[in-house]
């Protein structure tokens, strides 16, 4: 059994590469025998594997073609299944080790928490691997930051097993002393042992180069290279080795064209850096860009042959475009800037969300810069909650966990990239005190039952931690700033962040209920006071998020099919969460195509996709209110640094309704 991971920044084509590779190795070719039975797995909570394959997928593997299955994991469902199988054993441990009764335990186990996708992801892949149905499992991962959390999950599970073991210990001692007949381990003991063993095995498996391969997908642009370097270091520190770098979407050489020539020159520079800094002692594979993203089995199979056996095949030739570009109606436009567009104006909390790689950070940075410039008396914070930060790359200025002024930026603007691990470490003393108090409240008279083991979690960065501190930072920053612009992680995790206040409030309430119930045993002290304060600020935050006059969610997308489909799902979910979604920014539009055939074909494809988006928004707009379309142009090189960002922000166009 071999495990192959495809990782990379959002929007670089991980899903495309992973599915094309899986298709290629499952089929026999003149160059190569079939690798056997293959499963391609998506672990990104915002799945696009089904969109890319053009087949509806589910959390159960589905046959795609001979020797190839595909599956989109659902962390919550997988956890619910695991819980169903282990509920009794887990309930027993918690009842043995704490004052909690079965009602309390049931309530706690039914709460949802962020980070489940990462925690359960590897366990699920392990389950498929053990099933014995597959020879190769190809994993399409979530964007960088969360993949690092996913890969660290075995350690977290190991600590959880340790906490459960500490809780069960007291019971074990009593049982051994009082039981007349020595019995074998109980279900609870078996669960703890199995969890611990599974965590250790997966961790070893990931680090075994014969069984596991990591492939890193990047685009030939400098921003991707910087983020890749950070990720490589993090992976190496964790003992994981990347053995292949895939450089995706290289512009093929063609007749001279002012736009494409400029981009090719940029790519050449980036490629040289990639070879020098990422490519040493690794395979570097170059994938040419097609005119449109490869979707569907046929297009992917052709691309797969390039990835799998390195044949120098060019991207499949697209059939000529049937309709002439002039057949598409041109939408009347008006020039706007981020600070003047009604969708943004007047808001005090603005979230920029969207699929990976669509330009969320660029749009958020341009907006914050121009807002600050336009109103020097307002204090503006630009905050990144994506664990794979790119604010400093986009601003071309250092940014850190301390809110700071941007070099050459307006004096009333501060920038901060949240460092969840650091935030966790800085709260260590408080959190340990709280844990001890919780243990004293519910631990069965044994001081610190499981609390010191739980404190180990603070050495790791447990999944969900980025979302938690993201929300905490927004709450904390509200007192000091007039407006906060949030650059979120890609879709799946941005949604987790926005869902967090509801989930966190449920957790706090569950703890308050327990403290109230056992107040005869333990006076509700400091912890209760803090929980009351947290519950109050969460309640205020919920109200703020749902107040459309103060809070807006701006979705960034591109005029292509996969981002469009994801945007539609994202908007739907945001509206279910009662958030206001007044505008979609369609980024990187080829507004002024170059002179070559490719440029014109790309521009025509973009216009078709834009028309489809417009139609969807209009349809949903009748039910949930209008969502404006803002067009933002493609510029080569991409806007980097304060000056370029402000200039790019001045090039936005608002579509007027017809």
């Amino acid at each position: 059994m071999k495990l192959i991971f495809y990782g990379g920044k959002g929007g670089v084509g991980k899903t495309t590469c992973a599915s094309a590779f899986a298709l290629a190795i499952s089929a026999a070719s003149p160059h190569q025998e079939s690798a056997g039975r293959v499963l391609v797995v998506s672990t990104d909570p915002a799945h696009s594997l089904g969109d890319t394959l053009g087949i509806r997928l589910s959390p159960a593997p589905r046959r795609i073609r001979r020797r190839l299955d595909a599956v989109e994991l659902d962390g919550r469902r997988a956890f619910a299944r695991w819980l169903r199988d282990n509920r009794r054993a887990l309930g027993e441990i918690l009842e043995h080790g704490t004052w909690l009764d079965s009602t309390d335990v049931d309530t706690l186990l039914d709460l949802s928490f962020p980070g489940l996708d990462e925690l359960v992801g590897l366990m699920e892949i392990d389950r498929f691997a053990r099933g014995g149905h597959y020879d190769v499992i190809v994993v399409d991962t979530a964007p960088t930051g969360h993949t690092l959390r996913l890969l660290a999950a075995p350690e977290t599970v190991g600590v959880v097993a340790g906490v459960l073991d500490a809780l069960q210990d007291e019971h074990r001692v009593i049982r051994d002393q009082l039981a007349r007949v020595t019995r074998g381990p109980e279900a609870a003991d078996r669960l703890i042992a199995a969890l611990g063993a599974q965590a250790t095995e997966i961790a070893e498996w990931l680090r075994d180069r014969r069984r596991t391969s990591f492939r890193w997908v990047t685009l030939p642009e400098m921003m991707s290279v910087d983020e890749s370097l950070d990720a490589f270091n993090a992976l190496e520190r964790a003992g994981l080795h990347v053995d292949e770098v895939v450089v995706n979407r290289l512009l093929p050489s063609a007749r001279p064209c002012p736009l494409c020539d400029r981009r090719r020159a940029e790519e050449k520079k980036a490629l040289a850096v990639i070879r020098r800094r990422l490519g040493r002692r690794r395979r570097v594979r170059l994938i040419p860009a097609g005119v449109e993203e490869p979707r569907g089995l046929q297009a992917l199979a052709a691309l797969g042959r390039v990835i799998a056996d390195g044949s120098s095949l060019m991207a499949p030739r697209r059939p000529p475009i049937g309709r002439k570009p002039s057949a598409i109606s041109h939408q009347p436009l008006t020039a706007v800037t981020p600070e003047t567009v009604p969708a943004i104006r007047g808001a005090s909390l603005i979230f920029f969300g969207g699929k990976g790689g669509v330009g969320k950070t660029t749009a958020a940075a341009a907006t914050a810069l121009r807002m600050a410039r336009a109103a020097p008396e307002r204090r503006i914070l630009l905050l990144s909650t994506d664990p794979a930060h790119s604010l400093s790359d986009v601003l071309d200025a250092p940014a850190s966990d301390e809110a700071a002024i941007v070099r050459r930026g307006p004096p009333n603007l501060r920038v901060r990239e949240i460092d969840a691990r650091r935030a966790l470490a800085s709260k260590r003393v408080e959190l340990e005190a709280a844990l001890t108090e919780i243990a004293a409240a519910i631990g069965q008279g044994v001081p610190g039952t499981g609390a010191d083991r739980a404190a180990e979690l603070m050495n790791l960065a447990p999944p969900g931690i980025d979302e938690l501190f993201g929300i905490v930072s927004v709450v904390d920053a509200r007192a000091d700033y007039d407006a906060i612009v949030v650059d979120t992680a890609p879709t799946g995790h941005a949604l987790r962040l926005l869902e967090l206040p509801d989930a966190a409030r449920e957790w706090v309430q569950a703890l308050l209920r327990v403290l109230l119930k056992y107040r005869g045993l333990l006076r509700p002290g400091q912890l209760a006071q803090e929980l009351v304060a947290v519950a109050k600020s969460l309640r205020e935050l919920q109200a703020l998020l749902r107040d459309g006059t103060r809070t807006r969610c701006i979705t960034v997308t591109r005029a292509a099919e996969t981002p469009r489909l994801e945007t539609e799902r994202l908007l739907k979910r945001l509206r279910q969460l009662q958030l206001t979604t007044p505008a979609v920014v369609v980024n990187a539009l080829t507004v002024q195509p170059g002179t070559c055939v490719r440029c014109r074909t790309v521009a025509a494809a973009e216009r078709r996709s834009l028309t489809a988006l417009r139609r969807t928004l209009r349809r949903s707009g009748r039910r949930v209110g209008q969502c404006a379309i803002i067009q933002a142009p493609l510029v080569a090189p991409p806007p980097t640094g304060v000056v370029a960002l402000e200039r790019w922000g001045g090039m936005w166009k608002l579509e007027l309704r017809t």
Binding site: V508, Q509, L512, R513, R523, A528, Q529, L531, A535, K536
Partner: protein, 94 residues
């Protein structure tokens, strides 16, 4: 019977003493009231009581806390002579 009586009376007195002690402690110490206030806040966050009910409870508890504070502060503000006079009067009367 004597033993039973003394046991009964003894334990009754013990219980009564404890009650008096607790009542006195509660009158002089506002920590029990603060706990009650915290409990009301917890119930408010859990949605077990409404904003109005909480406001009412809070008003009562705060009034009670002020009540405890008042005589204590009064004692501190009195001059030594005042205090002696008071004790003297008490002594005369008893």
């Amino acid at each position: 019977m004597f033993i039973l009586d003394s046991l009964l009376i003894g334990s009754l007195r013990f219980v009564l003493d404890k009650v008096v002690q607790a009542a006195e402690a509660e009158m002089q110490d506002d920590s029990a009231l603060r706990d009650q206030l915290l409990e009301a806040q917890m119930r408010l966050e859990l949605g077990e009581i409404t904003d109005e009910e909480f406001a009412e409870t809070e008003r009562d508890i705060l009034a009670a806390i002020r009540e405890i504070k008042r005589p204590q502060q009064g004692a501190i503000s009195m001059s030594p002579t005042d205090k002696i006079t008071g004790v003297d009067i008490d002594t005369f009367e008893s």
